[in-house]
Subunit: 290 residues, 4 copies
Amino acid sequence: MDVGFIGLGHMGSGMARSLIRAGHGLLVWNRSPAPAERLEAEGARRAADPAEAFQAEAVFTMLADDHAVRQAILDSGALERARPGVVHIMSSSISLAFSQELEAAHAKAGVAYVAAPVLGRPDVADAGELNVLAAGAPDAVERVRPLLEAIGKRVWPIGEAPHQAHLVKLAVNFSLAAAIETMAEAFALVRRYDLDPGILRDVLTGTLFAAPAYKTYGDLIVEQRFEPALFKLPLGLKDVRLALEAGEAVHAPLPFASVMRDNFLDAIAHGDAEKDWSAVSRVAARRAGL
Amino acid sequence: MDVGFIGLGHMGSGMARSLIRAGHGLLVWNRSPAPAERLEAEGARRAADPAEAFQAEAVFTMLADDHAVRQAILDSGALERARPGVVHIMSSSISLAFSQELEAAHAKAGVAYVAAPVLGRPDVADAGELNVLAAGAPDAVERVRPLLEAIGKRVWPIGEAPHQAHLVKLAVNFSLAAAIETMAEAFALVRRYDLDPGILRDVLTGTLFAAPAYKTYGDLIVEQRFEPALFKLPLGLKDVRLALEAGEAVHAPLPFASVMRDNFLDAIAHGDAEKDWSAVSRVAARRAGL
Amino acid sequence: MDVGFIGLGHMGSGMARSLIRAGHGLLVWNRSPAPAERLEAEGARRAADPAEAFQAEAVFTMLADDHAVRQAILDSGALERARPGVVHIMSSSISLAFSQELEAAHAKAGVAYVAAPVLGRPDVADAGELNVLAAGAPDAVERVRPLLEAIGKRVWPIGEAPHQAHLVKLAVNFSLAAAIETMAEAFALVRRYDLDPGILRDVLTGTLFAAPAYKTYGDLIVEQRFEPALFKLPLGLKDVRLALEAGEAVHAPLPFASVMRDNFLDAIAHGDAEKDWSAVSRVAARRAGL
Amino acid sequence: MDVGFIGLGHMGSGMARSLIRAGHGLLVWNRSPAPAERLEAEGARRAADPAEAFQAEAVFTMLADDHAVRQAILDSGALERARPGVVHIMSSSISLAFSQELEAAHAKAGVAYVAAPVLGRPDVADAGELNVLAAGAPDAVERVRPLLEAIGKRVWPIGEAPHQAHLVKLAVNFSLAAAIETMAEAFALVRRYDLDPGILRDVLTGTLFAAPAYKTYGDLIVEQRFEPALFKLPLGLKDVRLALEAGEAVHAPLPFASVMRDNFLDAIAHGDAEKDWSAVSRVAARRAGL
């Protein structure tokens, strides 16, 4: 299949490589040229601008945030000039409100729109082992299924409204942040009783919480290993804020998210903005006098 | 080994049966006679009072709360009349402050004291598959290790101070309550966007949260299956309160526990006291207008 | 003095009338014509658009929110065509970020910019008895002081950066919301002990809390008199959100504001969006089972 | 009237002096003798123990907490040996649960029980200018009204159940703590925008919050004047905890109290236990990086 790809950060480059490996023809664009040049060396062609990437049969967008997507997709006029029949696959983690705005813009331009945010870090993207959360009109999702299967080990059907996939992505990241805060408070508590938090981590991850979320972040927090950051702390704040905004739009209070928002701010105010988001655990420790 | 057993509720009876199965001689006591009679039929002898149970080589206590333990162990004079060399194994989930008071009382009476609270429900206790959190003087723990291994599939060494095991038990239950609240908020959020919460549960438990805590309670919350209660809601409130009190004693704020305490009260005020503690999830749903 | 006035809602009309009464010549504009016609009958002249109002010596803006101000002041080109030497007085309650953006836009256009948000309701505005929070370059504030004194019983000098006055306005409304929530929780508590909350209100407002905030809202909450709304509940949510956003920009956690945000959402989810913002007190009562 | 007085701390001594000044005969007791000797020099007689003080026509108790009251009143057997017809006036700030226990103990002993906690600091007590919150059976309150009027500038009738007066006292202190936290957050916010918090304090206390609570604590917080402590921080924690416990007993969530509890713990963990309770404001400042 002839596939456009907009946005070649760590995640996007990994996903593009998976597509090349699966035999698809790639037409890539990135704001800064270096990542596009690297993929050219691996067999991709380069697009001059985002609009050109929309001349393929399907096109992925994997950009940093609402603002970058707005510039590349809406402000560029890419939708209006899109090749008839193209399916646009939005893998960026964007806000609910913007995802809903994009649904309307695609409908107006007559471009099929599928949301496919992913779970997994860059190394997982490189290996084509992501979990893909797919939502959109069933026939559109069906047409791009081979592409989604190329980047992920599993494609999760979420619903027919693309923003529902972005909602689930936000809910998963909210749950991760809550797991981090839960361990942060529990570890601070046991430390104040002179107990090694590694013992509590072992009990949790050896019994009822034997899951990647607790194992990965439990280790980082116990070992206070927050650098290099896999996911920087302000990105955690952003996702919690997006969850709060999604809740506000439908009048759903999220008191855990409110607590976490305050803690992320506290962490940034204390100079931890460059650390991994699990460094928000330092707030619970500091507040307990540790 | 000759083993006393005080407290034959669902959990205690299951643990006692595991000990009988492992070939130990049981001397049991319970406030109401029926459970003791049932175990007598299975080969146990009955003690006339808690103090008699302290005439064995080791004695378990598995009672409901601080108050019941205080009556049976401290007010009864059982410690003062204990057989020399007996090891007292406290499996009840009690408060940190009371566990520390018991440490002092045992030291004064010259009775060895091991804390061994357990993770698992009655059916797990029946099967001898509990996770046992063991803390106490190493030689005392060593002497009763065969008993702990008889009731559990795994014995977790926690530390030398018995109250540390009770602390870990509280921290695990705090983490469970936090997982319930996390799903409650996330499920309420997606429901307000007309998404089946079962889809989010599947994504969570199929990816980063593939652990018993999320699977068990995710199902109960999605299916709104809160009766019969495996662990009643006021017991959840009690454990959160014990965590808050343990934090207060060492000046450790626990903002997630504070949110949960308020929610458990809200749930009870709305008539859900007889339901499973996962029914606290109805608070997030109700507050979102669901 | 020749004074433009943009925005003739209840507050704006009252302020404009105070200026007329003080002998100033008014040049008024409003999106819908009726309020402008009424003021014309009282001696004002009408401007064809916001830009025309900027041809006076000073011009007030009293519009509903960021969006309305952006349209009337920035998108209209009013600043670029402003009469040289005009002082623009922003009395709207706007976000901190937008106030800072307006500072930059005025500096670029060479238009003097004074912030003068006010405390007081429409009847207070009608009487010229507002409290005026004034911030801006000292010479600009000095030039419009007679105008500020015409609309207010007192002009509070806040600082030299206009956004600081908007910040103080947000802080005052945050404090009002907190007083409402404080009484809501305290009244719910005493009601659960069968005590008339009017007794607690009398003690509070007769002793340490003998202030308008507690008297006004204490009465409304005790008497459950939430209609007609003096300040609608979603406006309270808006101001709390603006405080949270102002805090987020400088990494200042505001846990009370977080609690209030969740409660305002809960109130709206329960159908109280048309009521006075003190109806948020129903949340604490409902959660206590009242 | 012949009046017993148990507990001669700063508050109790001031109240006792007011009674002497009003011409009543005082029979005083205190655990440590010095304060009783001082009052003897001012005309009081000394009682050998609390029970002797119950031989007067009325007897006040003004002790530090539940524990001290339990020892002096319940454990001492004072109630059983009380002079027939004596009215016991409880001015200590005690927990709701204990106040209810005392109601039952007095009913059993046939001793009239009036609750009369007070608002005001020691200097106000010295001047006889306290606000007295009176609750109890109407005839009992009537009999001791001259005494209540001697210690207070105003007697507030609260209800017929004594614990309701203690409840109102808790609610007032909860409201004070909430006012402190409100200013703490608002002041931290404006400081992060380089605004002198004294300006916000002036606006608040000059307009809608012109009340002693905001004036007194606003000054202390702006001037960071936390020593000498008028009311030590752990006492603030205690009162918030008592409010939370009172709420828990009737299933009333108090989310503001939950936030404050966490902040008082944070303050103590950071070494501020000897400071005035308004030093809890340092938590909001510290969390904002100030």
